[in-house]
Amino acid sequence: MSAITLSEQERNRLHRAHPEVFHRSIWQRWGALLLVLGALGYLAYCWSFFDVGQKLSEGKWERASIYMADWISWEAQPRFRFQPDGSIQIEHQRFSPLGENPDPDWMTTLPDGREEVTFGSADDRVEVASTGVVAVLGGVAYDVAFSGEAALLPANAPAAMTEKNGRVTVDFGFAGSAEIRATQVLIRRRFLGWENFWFDTTSPFWGMGLPELWTSVTTGPQIEPDRSNASLALHEFLTNSEWQHGDVLNKLLQTIVMAFVGTLFAACLAFPLAFIAARNVTNSKPANWITKRFFDFTRSVDMLIWALVFTRGFGPGPLAGIAAIFVTDTGTFGKLYSEAIENIDDKQREGIRSVGASPADVNRYGIVPQIAPVVISQTLYFWEANIRGATIIGAVGAGGIGLKLLEAMRTNQDWENVAYMVVLILGVVFLFDSLSNAIRSRLIGSAGH
C-alpha cells in the first residue's frame, strides 16, 4: 500500500468527526495487553507454586521413549550365561513372549559354537563367546574383551557403545541393545507390534497364522474332546493371559452401561421434576424453590463425591458409577430442562387451554413439543460426555475400565495393554459420537446440531 498523506485540515476534520476512534479509554487501549500479562503472570506463579522447573529436571525423560515404544512394540530378553566350562547357556525371561521353547530366527548358533544375535540386518549383530564378544555395528566389528570381572570397551568404540561399571552396552536403536558383562550377555530385542495378541503362549492355537487357524477351526482335528475348536479358540482368545480380552471387553461394556443407564434414569427423573421447578408451570414459589435448590445441590456436589459415596454404599462396581452419574445428571438435566420450559412461547399453551384441554394435555401439547429438541439434544450430549466421564470415575472404584487402566499403568510394564484399552475407548467414544449425532438429526432435524 502506498502511504496516504493528509493535510492538517483533513486530519482535524477526521478527529472531530470520529472522536471515539481517536480517544479511547485506558481500558480499551491497554485492556487486552493487561489481560495477557495477567495470564502470563498467573502461569509464572503456577510455575513456581508447583515447582515445575525442579520437577521437570528431575523427570526420568530417558524412560519416556521406552514407555512410548512399549505402546506399539514388544521386547524379548534372552540372556547368554557363560558356564565355567566355556559353554554358553541361553536363558529366557519367565513368561517369555516367545513361548516355552523359543528358537527365533534372529538367534543362531554358528558352526564354531558361538552364538549370534542379529538386530534387524546382517550388518548389526552380536557374536557371543565366553572368551570375548564381537559387536558388529553398521558392518564394522568391534571386539569386546574381558579382563577379570569387567568387560573392556574397545579403543575405537563408536558413540553407540558405552561402558559403565565393567559392563559394555551396545545400542542398536529401536531394534534393541546388548549389555555385555564378563559373566553373561543380556540381549534386549525389540519388535514392532503387539505380541501374542490373539492367543497366549500356552494356547494350542499359539503361533498359528490366519489360514492355519481357519483350517484348524473349520476342518482340523478336534483338540479337546468335549468342545469344538471354534468355541475353544474363542475361549482361548478371551482368556489370553497377557491381554485379558474377556475382562477388558467386560469392563468396557460396564463403562458403556454405566453411562447409558445413569443418563437415562437421570433424564427420566429430571423431566417431571423440571415441570415442578418451572415457574410458569407450577405456580408455587416453595415448590419451585425446593426443586431448583435440589438440582443445584446434586449438580454442585461433584460427581467424584457421589462416586466415592456410592462406592462405599454399594461396594465397588458399575452400580456405584450408575448411581453417581444418575444423581449428578439429575441436577444438570433438571436445570437445563426447567430453563427450557421457562423460555417457551406461551401462545401454544394458551391456544390449547382455550379449547378446554385438561392441565395434563396443556403440558403435553403446549410445552413438550417445544422443549423436545433441547431435551433430546442435551441428553444425547451428556450421554456422550458420560462415556468419557465413566472411564475416569471408574478409576476410584466405581466400576468399568478406569480401574483396569490405572492398574495397567501403575507397573509401567504393560503400556501395550494401556494402548489396547485406549484404542477401544477411542473407538467406543467415536462410535457413540456418531450414533448420538445420527439419533439427534433423525429426531429433531439437522438444525439441532
Binding site: 456436589v301 401439547y365 475416569i392 490405572l406 485406549v422
Partner: protein, 322 residues
C-alpha cells in the same frame, strides 16, 4: 389431542379421507414410538441385569443398606467438622490419623499464620484447573482458526486440526496423566497436562464453530483493502468472536474445576486426593469438612462465572455443551 372420532360422521367425503389418512399416519407414528421405547426398555433391563451381575455387592440385596454406612459415619460432635476444616486441635485426639488436624497446617511467614490443609489443597486443585484452562485455551485459540471452514484454510490442514481436536477431546484423561506420571511421578503437573490436553480439544471445537458462525462482512472489507490472512483474522474475526470465546472459556473453567478434583483423586494431588483418603479411612469429620468446602467452592465458581458470562453475552451464555 382430544378425541376426534365423534365429529367424523359430519365430515364431507374429501375431508373424511384426509382425516382417515391423518389417523393412519398417527397410528404408524405411535407404533414406531412404541417400538423405540420398547427397544430402549429391553436394552435398559439387560444393562441393569449386567450391572447387577458385575457389581460385587448385588444391587437388589444391597439397596436397603445403601445409606447404612452414613449412619456410622457421623463425627463425634458437629464442631469436629469445623476443627477439621480449620486445622484446630481436637479434644478427642488419641494420636491416630483420625484427629491429627494440626499436622496438615501450611505455615506462612514463620509460625504465626497458617493456611489450613484443606484450603491449601483446594488452592492446589483450583490452580490446576485455572492453569490448565489457560494453557488449553491459549492453544485452542491459536489453532481454532485453522479448523474453521470460512477462512480459506487448506482442506487437508483443516482436516488434520479437526481430527487432532477430536483425538485430544476423546483421549482418556487418566492415561494422559498416567503417561506424565510415569516420567515425573504422580502429582499436579501430570494433572495439569491431562486437563490441558482435554481442554484444547473441547475448547477448540467450540471455538471453531463460533468462528464459522461469524459475520463475514468485516472480512470482506479487510480483504477489499488488501489485508493479509493474519490481519483479517485479527481485525475482522477476533473482535466478533471474543465474547463467545470468553464465555466458553469461563464455562470450561467450571468444568475443569470438577475435572481436576476427579483427576486429583486418582493421584493428581489436591482436594480430590485428601477426600478419597478421608472417606476411605472412615474419617467422618474430615470427610464432611472437605465435602462442605468443595461444595461451597464449586457453587462460588459457578456463580461467579455465570455472572461474568451473563454480562458478556447476555442470556445466550446459558448454553451447556459436551
Amino acid at each position: 389431542m382430544a378425541d376426534m372420532t365423534s365429529g367424523e360422521r359430519d365430515l364431507s367425503p374429501a375431508t373424511g379421507a384426509i382425516h382417515r389418512h391423518y389417523r393412519q399416519l398417527l397410528a404408524t407414528r405411535r407404533l414406531y414410538s412404541l417400538i423405540a421405547v420398547a427397544g430402549v426398555a429391553i436394552v435398559l433391563v439387560l444393562a441393569l441385569l449386567f450391572a447387577n451381575e458385575a457389581s460385587s455387592g448385588k444391587f437388589i440385596d444391597r439397596l436397603p443398606y445403601l445409606f447404612d454406612f452414613i449412619k456410622n459415619f457421623v463425627p463425634d460432635d458437629p464442631f469436629e467438622i469445623v476443627r477439621a476444616m480449620f486445622d484446630l486441635p481436637s479434644p478427642y485426639a488419641d494420636g491416630s490419623f483420625k484427629y491429627d488436624y494440626e499436622v496438615g497446617r501450611h505455615y506462612l511467614f514463620g509460625t504465626g499464620f497458617y493456611i489450613p490443609e484443606y484450603f491449601f489443597e483446594m488452592l492446589v486443585t483450583l490452580n490446576i484447573a485455572f492453569a490448565s484452562t489457560l494453557i488449553g485455551g491459549l492453544f485452542a485459540f491459536f489453532f481454532c482458526f485453522l479448523a474453521a471452514s470460512n477462512l480459506g484454510v487448506a482442506g487437508p490442514l483443516r482436516w488434520i486440526v479437526r481430527r487432532l481436536f477430536e483425538l485430544m477431546r476423546a483421549f482418556p484423561e487418566i492415561v494422559l496423566a498416567g503417561m506424565m506420571a510415569a516420567v515425573l511421578s504422580l502429582g499436579p503437573i501430570a494433572a495439569i497436562f491431562a486437563v490441558s490436553v482435554h481442554t484444547v480439544g473441547a475448547l477448540g471445537k467450540m471455538f471453531f464453530e463460533v468462528v464459522e458462525n461469524a459475520d463475514m462482512k468485516p472480512d470482506d472489507g479487510l480483504r477489499a483493502v488488501g489485508a493479509n490472512w493474519f490481519e483479517r483474522v485479527r481485525f475482522a474475526i477476533v473482535p466478533q468472536v471474543m465474547p463467545n470465546f470468553v464465555s466458553y472459556f469461563l464455562l470450561r473453567t467450571e468444568i475443569n474445576v470438577r475435572a481436576s478434583t476427579i483427576i486429583g483423586a486418582v493421584g493428581g494431588g489436591g482436594i480430590g486426593e485428601v477426600f478419597r483418603q478421608a472417606i476411605g479411612r472412615d474419617h467422618a469429620a474430615k470427610t464432611y469438612a472437605i465435602v462442605i468446602l468443595l461444595f461451597l467452592t464449586i457453587v462460588a465458581i459457578d456463580q461467579l462465572s455465570g455472572w461474568l458470562r451473563r454480562r458478556l453475552v447476555g442470556n445466550a451464555a446459558f448454553q451447556f455443551g459436551a
